[in-house]
Subunit: 339 residues, 4 copies
């Protein structure tokens, strides 16, 4: 941590501040500049309250020297984390595709889609049983019934299940029924939920919040990891910007940013990012060569009748054609397609 002082600070005031800071357990080293001087704090600054120092009236600014995330930080664990779920790997060197409808609508629907996408090399089946919807009047998901249908589909196809949890009270059930627990963008900073997920051993698919910086996203991963669960998969799904042509703005450069800052796997959701079925192919391909470890793609047997997000869902046939291209690009990247 570096403390920038205002110009022309009296020496006594500066010494007082140094004394105060050193009482917090760190050493202070002064660099006297021509116009302003700075204090370098040496030692463990993780518990030092930045605001406390900033509120001192001789302080102009506080500069942070290190990232605030530890367990998620690549600097402290240089090897990329590979997460294995039901024999399928997710992480650097592999490419893993999670596919399925936005919401489970019926047993036939989810089984039909599951069979189709399995044939087209999906590694996991996704399906929403509980749906976070902007409107209270919109379809909210089938709930427990939806979870049951997902389990049946898993039984029949062998595809492990990914589904979104919306509250802590469903945790036990999700731990029992689901293979990867998804945390949605709107819950990325639901810290109570994150902590409870950190106490399980389940892999967690953590979507980036609509307005979350990459650092905040990694700090939410840190919440889960700080409780003991290291199996976090990050998912870029578009951020909110001024542009309204797409549902969100897919931030593909976040993939490389995460790969540099963290050892955790990162996948991309082109369906929510764009909100347009006809953009899914191009953004899926882009995600592969941008270095993502996988994709999560919405597929629906009949998008025009979907109860949720039909506009951004592709059909099983379109998915099959897409996967042919994906497979070639994964090979081009020297990675292994997991299925």
């Amino acid at each position: 941590m570096v403390v920038v002082l205002k110009p022309d600070v009296p020496v006594e005031k500066r010494n007082e501040l140094i004394k105060e800071i050193e009482s917090l357990g760190v050493k202070v080293q002064v660099t006297e500049g021509v116009e302003v001087s700075i204090l370098g704090l040496v030692g463990d600054t993780s518990n030092i309250n930045k605001y406390r120092i900033a509120s001192n009236d001789i302080v102009a600014n506080i500069l942070r020297v290190q990232e605030p995330f530890k367990k998620a930080n690549k600097m402290f664990k240089p090897d990329y984390t590979i997460i294995e779920v039901c024999g399928r790997k997710i992480g650097e060197g592999y490419f893993t595709v999670i596919t399925g409808p936005c919401s489970v609508e019926s047993e036939e629907q989810i089984e039909g889609i599951a069979k189709a996408v399995k044939e087209s090399k999906a590694a996991f089946l996704r399906g929403g049983a509980y749906k976070p919807r902007t409107s209270p009047y919109a379809f909210q998901g089938l709930g427990l019934e939806g979870l049951e249908y997902l389990k049946h589909a898993k039984k029949h196809t062998g595809l492990p299940i990914v589904s979104e949890i919306m509250s802590v009270d469903m945790l036990e059930r999700f731990v029992d029924d689901v293979d990867i627990i998804q945390v949605g963008a709107r819950n990325m900073q639901n810290f109570v939920l994150l902590k409870e997920l950190g106490k399980t051993k389940k892999p967690i698919l953590l979507k980036r919040g609509l307005a979350a910086t990459i650092e905040e996203w990694l700090m939410s991963a840190e919440y889960i990891m700080s409780e003991g669960n290291d199996r976090v998969i990050l998912c870029e799904r578009g951020i909110r910007t001024f542009e309204t042509y797409t549902r969100n703005t897919l931030d593909l450069s976040a993939v490389q940013a995460v790969k540099r800052l963290s050892h955790l796997p990162v996948i991309v959701d082109p369906s929510h990012a764009t909100g347009k079925a006809w953009m899914v192919e191009s953004m899926s391909k882009a995600a592969v060569v941008a270095g993502a470890d996988g994709l999560i793609i919405e597929v629906h047997n009949n998008p025009s009748l979907a109860l949720c997000d039909g506009q951004q869902s592709i059909t099983p046939e379109e998915y099959s054609l897409l996967m042919e291209k994906i497979e070639k690009l994964v090979e081009f990247e020297g990675k292994k397609l997991v299925f």
Copy 2:
């Protein structure tokens, strides 16, 4: 709802679409333009899936004619809602200030602040018992102990309490102990929590999410109201933009927007919006004349030692001086200061 068709659509295809839409229970009226034609949907369109129609390949665009919120909508309830809590009113014509520290840190701290701000005409005492923090390593609040201290402070000063709830499992306790339950910006779309709050009779202070549009914010109010609880107070607390000089960007025009779209009270949080104690005065004053129904202001006895958000907290003395100005401006606006 208006459906815009692509140019040169064959009549049969158009008729098929009209038939499909009318099977959903609405009437369709065609306006033939020079280049494009449009379909006007007449009837109750609230259950019509916009995406379903949009995925038809002769459709160019769907335009919405009405706001999606009903119970929060001023069009259907033109009189402003006044919410009374422990004899104190919140809503049009009144000005109500909620004051206190970001987090409850000790019994002495909260009692000291409570007494001071009561003398300076605060109407409610705020204090965090559970704190949503970006970092899992930061102070997370005193929890139940904090709630107890708040209750003591209420007993000694008579100030009703406002505190933030972070999860459904604390609901019973909050209903018992707290006079207004606050929902933080990060939980604005925690729909499970919103629905449960909707089943209580407690007033809810609903903060705007970091990246929430005004419409999404009102839809979150609608979640609470659709379950039967009409006592929602909206709180503008700054939105996330590209500007980093302030913690967030205070969107003061949202106050008038809410006043036009909804009958619900709307207050302003200048402390979180700016993240800078020295900006609280100017933004508080601006909020009064911009038409807000109140303020929520962070006050700490010793900001430089605060365990949370010290940089944006003002002292009880600064608060006292601020309230003298606020009181005059409230009078200027022809409103009644509640305390």
Copy 3:
């Protein structure tokens, strides 16, 4: 400037970097931390290329210690600048309102408006002769004819003129005809234009760009000032955010930010910021108590027939009523209304 090194950098590499940096004319002071070390650069760093140092592979980050603007910086000129134009003052302690239509449409129109707003204590008459429009098919202004009409209106009312310049080739004419030259938001970083304006002695009204940070805005003022023209008036006119209910998001906290960082006057444009005539009153009032030095307000004799921005223009009658309130608030702030 502070250079943060990566962990475990070999001493020789560090010494090489120090040598390289010192060859640029500054001294380097090392602070060795537990995990990372930092280099403090002492001396004139204004010509040091940050990117040059950052591209060295032992460097983790570069932190800037000082603001990059000098002449606009309050640190180096603590007294607020008061700009006097035709006997009217703009700056701290005064409140100055610039009023008129978005575009000059005819001689009668501008004269009529000028007389009306003069009676309601406008200090300056604004009117666009050249209009930057998003569409090439929209009304582009009357050009020179518009400037002539403005001059007539000035002659008849005594109100000095504010008008927007769009390119360098019009500079001579604007210097002759106009009292304050406005630079629009879209030209805030038209550096060629800024430099030429810096060579004149005319006061410049510099609008903030749609996506300009406060620092970039001050750097654009610095462009003008670095050429010798210190008479820059800043104008906050709303920034672009994800919210679409208002045309832009008025960033009122920018007023206080500018007042702290710079000595230059800062005024507010509530008309463009909100894009809604019915919001102009509340945001104008808010600007006064937020500490602005003035306003620029769009007034049109017949908004529904305006060739440009009618939706955000108020009538002379509405303006008159607004100014009564403004005058009281200016008095409340202990400032002097200029007219």
Copy 4:
């Protein structure tokens, strides 16, 4: 254009409005809804002032049915435009890479880079002679001397030249010396410049503004085209968002959006978008498979000594390795690499 009326509007008022609208030369067709009625305007609405109608107090909202750009619109010219410059094609089916340093620094520098990138299959040489810099104290380019060096480099390598114009007074010189004239992000809405460029026959590389929507970007292309110059190449270079890890946020989905809305070529600038040399490879590859028609990449012989944007420049060696991958992906996409 669709006009949405407020609920319960008296028939006479509605008829008055219809009469007023029809006097503007269009026909009005009424659709009566259950709660609100709408007016569909039939005919040429391009000259109808939306704000004029919106300011009528019985109007709730105005919805636009068509895009405001005409000449750039794919709906009216379905075939993609291919622009040929010095025998090199830019547009659908081709992939064209423009390469060179941010700024021309010396004759040796630009010649050395030109030779190197030519060998690695660059199609055009870029180099800034005039540089738009945020700070007036930063290197502003070599000016005319820079243009001369570019011409020499063209003579020696045969690579046509791309360079940025900053003001109208340089137009003649740029038309003579440069093969593609670049308009920078900060000048995307410098309408005076756009119009003058529209009167030339030179190809224009139009960068997207920092906060420009896709529609505004296409409207700026329309400015050029409406004056008679159809040879516009669009360039996505990142937009400004809340994320600060990257210099801007590359909006790759804009490529497909442009391809659907317009027939104009669109290329991608990964260097400015990310601001990080180590991200250029991944984002370049992503741009190819996302459907872009080309790239503009910053290459510098010695990035750590670059006078401008060194942090985002790659070396000729890195460029050479990158182009091997690009070439394979271009082939994968079934396109032809132009060089």
